[in-house]
Each structure stands twice: as structure tokens, then as C-alpha cells.
């Protein structure tokens, strides 16, 4: 069993009843980031389409960190997530 904690950005908290942190338990150890996200979607279905495109890719201006490492540099959705890890979903520094 692996427990990970998702840190939810302010913009998406209306989808989590205002909660900034969500704990998710996963049967596999270590789960991949994709598996952890699937568990998050099961709890908050509306969040999936905000974070991923319809093709299952992380949106271009969204960053997901496992601990302090951006998933895009350490394996993307295949990144192994250790027990107790914090996963941060963050809007990228972009806009205009």
C-alpha cells in the first residue's frame, strides 16, 4: 500500500470542495504518477479534463511535481511515486 498526497492549486479547489490536500491510497508500490492520477480522478472526476488533454497528455501549461521534481524531467506519467510523496499540480508560469 502506498499513500500519496496531492496538493491542489487554488483554481481547482472548487472541484475538491475547497480542500487543498487530498490523500490517496494505492495498492501497488510504487505506483506510477499516471496510476496516482487515475486514483485522483476517481475521487474528483471533474479534475481530469482540467489537467489532461483528451489524449491523456498533461496540458502544456500545467506542471506536476513529484516532491520537488517536475515530472516532465523524471519520466512523465511513468514516474514512480514513493510512499509518502507529495504531488503538486501547478499552473505553469505563463499567461498574458
Amino acid at each position: 500500500m502506498t499513500r500519496v498526497t496531492f496538493l491542489i492549486p487554488t483554481a481547482l479547489r472548487p472541484l475538491t470542495e475547497g480542500r487543498a490536500r487530498l490523500d490517496v491510497d494505492l495498492p501497488r508500490s510504487p505506483p506510477s504518477l499516471g496510476e496516482a492520477l487515475d486514483a485522483l480522478w476517481a475521487m474528483c472526476p471533474a479534475m481530469r479534463d482540467r489537467v489532461l488533454t483528451e489524449q491523456g497528455d498533461i496540458r502544456p501549461h500545467v506542471n506536476i511535481f513529484v516532491g520537488t521534481e517536475s515530472s516532465q524531467w523524471i519520466g512523465g506519467l511513468a514516474t514512480p511515486v514513493p510512499d509518502g510523496a507529495e504531488i503538486s499540480i501547478l499552473p505553469a508560469v505563463s499567461g498574458g
Binding site: R48, E54, P91, G96
Partner: protein, 380 residues
């Protein structure tokens, strides 16, 4: 909201605004921003079967684009749990932007269309609850050869034939005009005569960067087209096009609108060039033809004629249905200009908005004063 009020639906890069005025259209009250922070590239009113619905595309740079609607003039909006416009998995495409929303014909009150980037047409037959890509265009063999214009590879224009139920046109930048005569199953390029400046072949079958196409419902076989360089008219439903840029200071521009009561009256707003997308000579001028494109004349009364470097985008011009007709346009510098006399004179209705992307005019319930025979004033 009173019956007969005119409401301008204004989409900007930072949300939507509603500008309301009584039918006299002398003073405008601004409400909004709605959907604050999101880019609203498309707005549309749907008053079929007693609806009071306004649709908007709401795009977050981070969290994607969805279609939302309000039935109470913006007080509450739908917030679909799942993205409601999605490409099918096998297409390998992902939605970037929703550029156009169009209600279906009056006898199909639950049908709506939207045009998106990457270029595709979606249709809903349940009042906007669910949307499906129109396969004939999604699977079109030309798709691999369409290329993005400056705004992306977008399907930005949808024109429904008011008489022939299975006929429809779309315009794609850069793909050109396509027409279906079988309800969307097959699509044929309709670009004969439309010149391309940016390819070695000047009159290709497709690949034109069409900016806007308009049609008057009383004469559906006639279309007018603002191209990326070029003003065109077709008298055969798009089978062929003739250059009608007679008397404009530049035939480059984005928006185009047709008068609600006169199919020979069309409005454009020329820009100097694709390098310098500002009004020629710093003079903000709408050009109007009263004779179906034979001649165009500037409309300047009330518009700044000095150091006016306002850009007007393809969907940022609209007309209302009153008589005399109102004509409106918004600028990338956040101004909204309004004419209540068919373009003869203009007033700055509001300033200081975020960059305006789209404008549509709706008349609130009980205020329709259509007069099909009315013609605009002005020298013909």
C-alpha cells in the same frame, strides 16, 4: 433586462462583458467581466423555442477550453464537469480553442455547431449537452495539408444555408472554404478564384487563409469573403469567387458583417497589411458597400481619424436586427464602437476593456423589430 433592449455580447482575452442599451442605443451599461481571466473567443445567443441562452467559449491557458452557457444574463453559468468538446481518441488531436458557436436552423432547435482549433467542426443535437466531431471534415483527406495561420489552425466560420437544409460552409485558416451539400458527410473545397499570396501556386484548390465569410439569409447563394489579402464575392454558393476590392485602401483585414435587412450592404474594416495590422494612415475607417461590392466607401463620422492604430479581429464586428440597423465593432485595444444608423455615424460605447476578440448583438425578448424590406440610409 427589458424587452427590446439590445445586448452586445463581447468576448475578450480576459472574460466576457455584456453591454446593454435600450432600442434607442444611446447609452450603454456594461456588466462583467464574466468568466474572468478566461479567453472568450466565441459568443452566441440562442433564442429558439423561447430560450434566453447565451453561449460562450471559455478558455483557460492552463486548464483548457469548454463551452458554457447562461440563461440569466450572466448571473450563473454552467460549469461542465467534463470538457464538453473533445476530439475522439483515434484522431490523436487535442482541443486548443473554440473559435465559433452557431445555433442550428430554427427547425432544429436543439442543434448547435462550434468550430475549433485544430480545425474541426463539432455538432450538438441535444441543445449543447454533448458534442461530436463532424466526421466528414475530421477525416478529410486534405487535413494533413492544412497549415496554421497566425492564430493557429482554426475553423472560425460556420455558415448555414437557410434554404437548403443539408448545405453548410466552413472556413479554415489556412485551409480555405469548404462546403457540404449532404449535411456534413462530405466536404468540397470552394476556393476557385481566391488568391493566395504566401504560396508559389496562387490559385490552389485549398489552402487559402480565409478570414471571414458572410451571407444574407434572403439571398443564400451570394457570399462575401474577407481573405488574407482580397475581398471576394460569390454568386454561385461558393463555386467561384470574384475580386470586389474596389475602392478600399487595403484589401487586407479580418472582420466582415452583412446588413441585417439588405443583402447588398456589407461592412469591412481594412488593415494596412499582414505586417502592420493597423488601419491605413492611422485612420479608423469602416468601409461599406451598398451595391454588393461594386463600390466601397469609408465610414468615418465619429471614428478617430488620427493616430488610430486599433486592430479589429475577425469576429469582433456584428450587426443587430433593428431598423435602422446597429453596427458594432471592438478593438484589440479594448474599445467598442457602436453605430445606430447602419454605419453612417459612430460613437465610442465603452473604452478600457481587455482586448476584444468577438462581438455579437442580441435583442432581448419581445424587442424584435425586423423589417425585411428596410434599407440603410446613405448614398447608393
Amino acid at each position: 433586462m427589458k424587452g427590446g433592449d439590445i445586448v452586445l455580447l463581447v468576448g475578450t482575452l480576459k472574460g466576457a462583458f455584456f453591454l446593454r442599451a435600450p432600442a434607442t442605443r444611446t447609452a450603454w451599461e456594461v456588466a462583467g467581466p464574466y468568466l474572468a481571466g478566461r479567453a472568450v473567443y466565441a459568443v452566441a445567443g440562442d433564442d429558439r423555442v423561447g430560450r434566453r441562452r447565451i453561449w460562450a467559449s471559455a478558455a483557460s491557458m492552463h486548464w483548457g477550453a469548454v463551452l458554457v452557457s447562461t440563461d440569466d444574463w450572466g448571473r450563473t453559468w454552467t460549469n461542465p464537469e467534463q470538457a464538453n468538446v473533445k476530439f475522439p481518441a483515434e484522431s490523436a488531436l487535442a482541443l486548443k480553442q473554440i473559435w465559433q458557436i452557431v445555433s442550428g436552423r430554427p427547425d432544429e432547435p436543439d442543434t448547435l455547431y462550434c468550430g475549433v482549433e485544430p480545425a474541426a467542426l463539432f455538432r450538438s443535437t441535444d441543445g449543447g449537452e454533448t458534442w461530436t466531431a463532424v466526421r466528414g471534415l475530421l477525416d478529410h483527406p486534405h487535413r494533413p495539408r492544412w497549415t496554421p495561420g497566425g492564430g493557429g489552425l482554426c475553423l472560425h466560420t460556420i455558415v448555414l444555408d437557410p434554404v437548403t437544409a443539408d448545405r453548410m460552409w466552413v472556413a479554415i485558416s489556412t485551409g480555405g472554404v469548404y462546403r457540404t451539400d449532404d449535411g456534413g458527410r462530405t466536404w468540397t473545397p470552394r476556393n476557385v478564384g481566391i488568391r493566395v499570396e504566401f504560396l508559389p501556386e496562387k490559385y490552389p484548390e485549398f489552402g487559402q487563409c480565409v478570414h471571414k465569410v458572410v451571407q444574407h439569409r434572403d439571398r443564400p447563394e451570394v457570399l462575401f469573403l474577407q481573405n488574407h489579402w482580397g475581398l471576394y464575392r460569390s454568386d454561385d454558393a461558393g463555386d467561384s469567387w470574384q475580386d470586389v476590392a474596389h475602392g478600399v485602401p487595403s484589401d487586407f483585414g479580418f472582420p466582415m458583417a452583412v446588413h441585417p435587412h439588405d443583402p447588398d450592404t456589407v461592412y469591412v474594416l481594412p488593415l494596412e497589411s499582414d505586417e502592420f495590422r493597423c488601419p491605413p494612415e492611422g485612420k479608423l475607417r469602416v468601409y461599406r458597400t451598398l451595391n454588393g461590392g461594386r463600390t466601397w466607401a469609408p465610414l468615418t463620422r465619429g471614428l478617430p481619424q488620427r493616430r488610430a492604430y486599433d486592430t479589429v479581429l475577425r469576429d469582433a464586428m456584428a450587426t443587430d436586427t433593428l431598423d435602422p440597423a446597429g453596427v458594432y465593432f471592438g478593438t484589440r485595444s479594448g474599445k467598442l464602437f457602436a453605430s445606430k444608423d447602419g454605419g453612417n455615424s459612430w460613437r465610442l460605447a465603452v473604452d478600457g476593456l481587455p482586448p476584444v476578440v468577438c462581438v455579437r448583438a442580441v435583442v432581448s425578448a419581445d424587442g424584435q423589430r425586423r423589417r425585411a424590406t428596410a434599407r440603410p440610409t446613405g448614398r447608393r
